[in-house]
Symmetry: C2
Subunit: 81 residues, 2 copies
């Protein structure tokens, strides 16, 4: 049985306000670090896959249905063995 | 002025319970996808850096002080230009 891993990165779409990122950006600046221009936040999920057919297609389906909100978020999947 | 980007990945340490990951894992299984063995969740932050000296050291400091909870989380920084 093959042991694969998929990492799903979920980001807000460009143009969607990211309050968490903005708050962190302000906090960083208040701490005196002036070299940080902007911060965007995101989530990721590491899926351990037990093999099987069409794993890639299925993971993409899972992202669309469960892990990302397609209205405001975009996702990206990295597959590695 | 150089334009660099740093991506900070924050994960729960091994052995620390990940309720969000477990909930997603159950949801995926309930949806009928049986090829997913486990799910771990994490957060990431994309920092746009305006250059300056010791950026790498400063970003590591920011992670330790603000972005990760060192008691239960570990972080990893990727720098790219």
């Amino acid at each position: 049985m093959s042991k694969n891993k998929a990492t799903v990165f979920v980001r807000l779409k460009d143009g969607v306000l990211d309050p968490q990122g903005l708050t962190i950006e302000k906090a960083i600046k208040n701490m005196g670090y002036d070299m940080v221009n902007s911060v965007r936040s995101g989530r990721f999920f590491e899926l351990e896959l037990g093999g099987g057919e069409n794993s890639k297609e299925k993971v993409t389906e899972i992202c669309r249905k469960l892990l990302a909100n397609p209205v405001i978020e975009k996702f990206e999947v990295d597959f590695d063995k």
